[in-house]
Symmetry: C2
Subunit: 116 residues, 2 copies
């Protein structure tokens, strides 16, 4: 190194620079738990799930009336919960009935119980 500024120069001999393009390998269940947690990481989605637990099931429109949110926003949250596997939708024409996905709910519950 012919040109280095002694004021800013640091030695990083021990810890080489990292770049995580190597896509980290996580422990068993870590990614699954994080995925569930991420879906739960918004108060509206928690509230939707609490609502679903009380009512056992409900329609999208019910939720739109409960929350001061646009219909498209509620639909988006439902989509995320569905993608995470926490709920499932069933066409009950002309509406769609959303319920807790009990199989995955048990899995999530077990993952959190095991974690804490």
């Amino acid at each position: 190194m012919s040109h280095f500024n002694p004021k800013t120069h640091r030695k990083f001999t021990i810890r080489a620079m990292k770049r995580s393009l190597e896509t980290i390998e996580y422990q068993k269940n870590t990614e699954a738990l994080a995925k569930f947690a991420k879906a739960l990481g918004h108060p509206t989605r928690i509230a939707i799930l609490k609502h679903l637990k009380n009512q056992s099931c409900c329609f999208t429109g019910d939720l739109v009336d409960v929350f001061p949110l646009a219909q498209s926003t509620v639909s988006q949250h439902l989509k995320e919960l569905k993608n995470a596997g926490l709920i499932q939708g069933e066409l009950k024409s002309p509406k769609i009935k959303y319920c807790i996905n009990h199989d995955n709910w048990k899995i999530a519950k077990a993952l959190f119980q095991d974690f804490f």
Copy 2:
């Protein structure tokens, strides 16, 4: 309405447009639960917490060796866990020792148990 396109016109008489600038009021504990869940919503942070549970405590540098991430990235994740209250740091010169925040851990555990 003198000028409306019949092809695109829809009536939205029943469900008025919403704008959530009114900052939603959530049920008790809903926001707290969502905040914890959000902090848990990344596999690296789950892995850090698992590590902390095994080791009971550890230093930032230990984690940087474990994960293929830059030191600044690990530090950022630790900051988020600290902001969520799940961990706490103690200056153990020249290092910083991070531990689970057991008080808040219990609170989080109870919130999730109650939720599931």
